[in-house]
């Protein structure tokens, strides 16, 4: 599809316009922290950010979401579904986070179709933003993701100095562009070459991690002592899970405040919590940190591949940066390659 471009001084008008007819979700900064938030206009949106502290996953799979409300005194036991979301534009998502949404699709849009997820997914247009710089923890290249590509996005913007190249990737993207009239102009033909140059630093600077043979090796490492040693320092917090764009486990809970009216919600859960696998009667299939740590890395690098044909990690590096005890997935990958 066509390559367009938009002048940087027009971006605020674009965001203002998008916010009029959609719920606009964009990165904003406060107290030095970048997070995706719904915004009413382009005011305060930052686009030269390195990746957001937590991924925009929350707008597809919220950490907590109401599923329905009920009233047990109602003779028909009717349940009231929650409202869906309005049409939305997710603006400025990075390539790793866009890829993570394709991975979530494999989970939520498969044999079991998850209506809560799909409502949000279908109503969201994704405008991605190439990376022109990488954080010290980035390693998306290991998973075949490029700082300058964003399969799964509807439009991909790339910072070219005084303008953004806008690659229109889907029909949804085309619809967005045509709804914005003259804000976008046709690219002068130099866009793709300029993009390659712009994203080169991000490709070079990021960690170069190779995954050759890792999955095959993990196939035979269920009982390997590496899980004993590496898990000892884990403090079993949910940090790595809750900052991860691909983690998708959840729990379902009813809330009724001791009245007949209540609601059911689901909320993200973490395999690193001891009570994640604790069953009624006290049975605990993953009794120690060893089993839980193993589960995390096996799920991302082996089971996800078995089930969906792709790795369950996009190399965003958030868990590396935020793990309080430096249990680093890139280091684990390298160790898996080294150990006998």
């Amino acid at each position: 599809m066509a390559n367009k471009s938009i002048k940087k001084d027009q971006v605020k008008s674009l965001l203002d316009k998008l916010a009029q007819s959609n719920q606009l979700i964009a990165p904003i900064q406060s107290e030095g922290i970048t997070l995706f938030k719904p915004v009413k206009s382009g005011e305060g949106v930052v686009l030269d950010y390195q990746n957001a502290l937590v991924p925009p996953k929350d707008f597809f799979f919220p950490q907590s979401e109401k599923m329905f409300t009920y009233d047990t005194t109602d003779p028909s036991w009717a349940i009231t579904p929650v409202d869906g979301v309005p049409n939305r534009v997710l603006f400025g998502a990075r390539p790793c986070d866009v890829k993570s949404i394709l991975l979530l699709d494999k989970v939520f849009d498969a044999e079991f179709r998850d209506d809560y997820y799909l409502d949000k997914r279908n109503k969201t247009t994704i405008v991605a933003m190439s990376c022109t710089d990488a954080r010290h923890t980035c390693f998306c290249g290991a998973f075949g993701i490029s700082p300058g590509e964003a399969e799964g996005a509807d439009i991909l913007l790339t910072d070219l100095g005084d303008k953004y190249l806008a690659e229109v990737l889907t029909e949804k993207g085309e619809a967005l562009v045509s709804s914005c009239g003259s804000l976008f102009t046709d690219d002068d033909g130099n866009g793709p070459a300029a993009k390659e140059k712009a994203v080169a630093p991000a490709k070079e600077k990021q960690m170069q991690i190779g995954l050759e043979g890792v999955k095959e090796k993990l196939d035979n490492m269920f009982d390997h002592p590496i899980w004993d040693t590496e898990s000892l320092r884990c403090i079993g917090c949910g940090t790595c899970t809750f900052v991860c764009p691909t983690c998708h486990c959840f729990d379902i809970v009813d809330f009724n405040n001791q009245s007949s009216i209540g609601y059911r919600y689901r909320c993200a859960d973490s395999c690193q919590f001891a009570n994640f696998t604790r069953a009624a009667g006290g049975h605990q299939p993953r009794p120690s940190k060893k089993e839980r740590t193993r589960q995390r890395f096996m799920h991302k690098l082996r089971y996800f591949v078995d089930r969906y044909g792709d790795f369950g990690c996009v190399g965003c590096g958030r868990c590396i940066e935020k793990c309080p005890v430096n249990l680093d997935i890139a280091q684990i990958i390298n160790k898996v390659k080294e150990v006998g």
């Binding site: 107290e31 030095g32 922290i33 997070l35 502290l53 937590v54 950490q63 907590s64 010290h136 923890t137 600077k205 960690m207 040693t229 000892l232 320092r233 403090i235 079993g236 917090c237 949910g238 940090t239 899970t241 809750f242 900052v243 729990d251 809970v253 809330f255 919600y265 909320c267 993200a268 859960d269 973490s270 919590f273 001891a274 009570n275 940190k289 590396i320 935020k322 309080p324 005890v325 430096n326 249990l327 680093d328 890139a330 280091q331």
Partner: protein, 320 residues
């Protein structure tokens, strides 16, 4: 290699060799420059993995609680602030004092990985770090940096009460002679002066961000309940739902459970991935307890317990 690292390795190897302890918990090289990672050494040969440098930020005492059923004595490396956690654990009867060998390190201050990462690419390996006066010369496989220590120092270290550990069975370096800067709670007084509405606005905007990962609880030497109130399902005192009111309840409950017990190690504040200023809550309670009960910072000495957890016949009970 610095002297402390050398002492540590020797002492650890000897303790393991003599079977005085079965495990040594200390710091090992990190995956990035500017970080170390906790290591658990069980054979004398592996003592070589121990390091000491200005990036040994983690508190290690909480691991003693995880390992309370470990078969044998454990040696643990502590800095001044962490050393108070030892007494938290012994006073709370989590571990018997005679099961622990404390390897104390006098500490002038630790450096923040986040602050360093803002100044250099930390993705390389640390190859050398030297203190030169007020500066640190940091060498990594991906480049070097000379930086003023004060620019990357952990905030808590500027107000350190115990540069020298309050307890050490073996001291790994020379005592440090830096006069502790008296904590005047200037920062806390600023927040105390706010109106109730302003306080609520400030805190709710932070609590809203909490992702309830419980890293703050899990790293805390004072959070050792067999079943934490936040994990209880029946009754579910605090719901699992992530919203600002449950988050607020979580934070205030945790703060109150630590009132008079928090050893002010700063770990909860450091580990929070969402940069929630948990230290302000703890410091406020510390300030109040100190003013009301003439309490020393908890964990400063072997005796004592928690001021709010004690029963004394001579207590005035003015409110009854």
């Amino acid at each position: 290699m610095n002297n402390v690292t050398e002492n540590l390795r020797k002492t650890a190897a000897k303790l393991l060799q003599d079977q005085e302890v079965k495990m040594v918990i200390g710091y090992g090289a990190g995956s990035e420059a500017g970080r170390t990672q906790p290591v658990f050494i069980t054979s004398p040969e592996d003592a070589e993995k121990l390091v000491w440098n200005p990036f040994c930020v983690n508190g290690l005492t909480k691991y003693l609680s995880d390992l309370k059923n470990f078969d044998g004595k454990i040696a643990v490396v502590v800095k001044g602030c962490d050393s108070r956690g030892i007494f938290r654990l012994t006073q709370d009867n989590i571990i018997p004092r005679d099961q622990v060998v404390v390897l104390g390190i006098p500490c002038a201050g630790q450096m923040s990985y986040q602050k360093l990462a803002a100044k250099m690419d930390v993705s390389g390996q640390l190859t050398d770090v030297q203190e030169k006066g007020d500066n640190l010369e940091i060498k990594t496989s991906k480049g070097n940096l000379t930086v003023k220590k004060s620019e990357i120092l952990l905030d808590k270290c500027a107000l350190c009460e115990n540069h020298n550990p309050v307890i050490a069975d073996h001291l790994m370096g020379d005592k440090i002679d830096i006069a502790p800067k008296p904590e005047d709670y200037e920062e806390i007084k600023k927040y105390e002066a706010l109106s109730v509405e302003e306080k609520a606005k400030f805190w709710l905007s932070h609590f809203e961000r909490c992702i309830r990962c419980y890293a703050c609880r899990n790293t805390c030497p004072g959070c050792t309940c067999r079943e934490c109130v936040f994990d209880a399902i029946k009754p579910d005192w605090v719901g699992k739902e992530l919203n600002v009111s449950e988050n607020e309840l979580f934070h205030l409950t945790r703060a109150m459970h630590l009132a008079g017990r928090c050893v002010d190690c700063g770990e909860c504040d450091r580990v929070c991935p969402m940069d929630i200023p948990i230290r302000l809550l703890n410091k406020k309670l510390l300030k109040d307890c100190k003013e009301l009960f003439e309490m020393a910072t908890p964990g400063s000495s072997e005796e004592g317990g928690s001021v709010l957890g004690q029963y004394r016949l001579e207590d005035p009970e003015e409110f009854m």
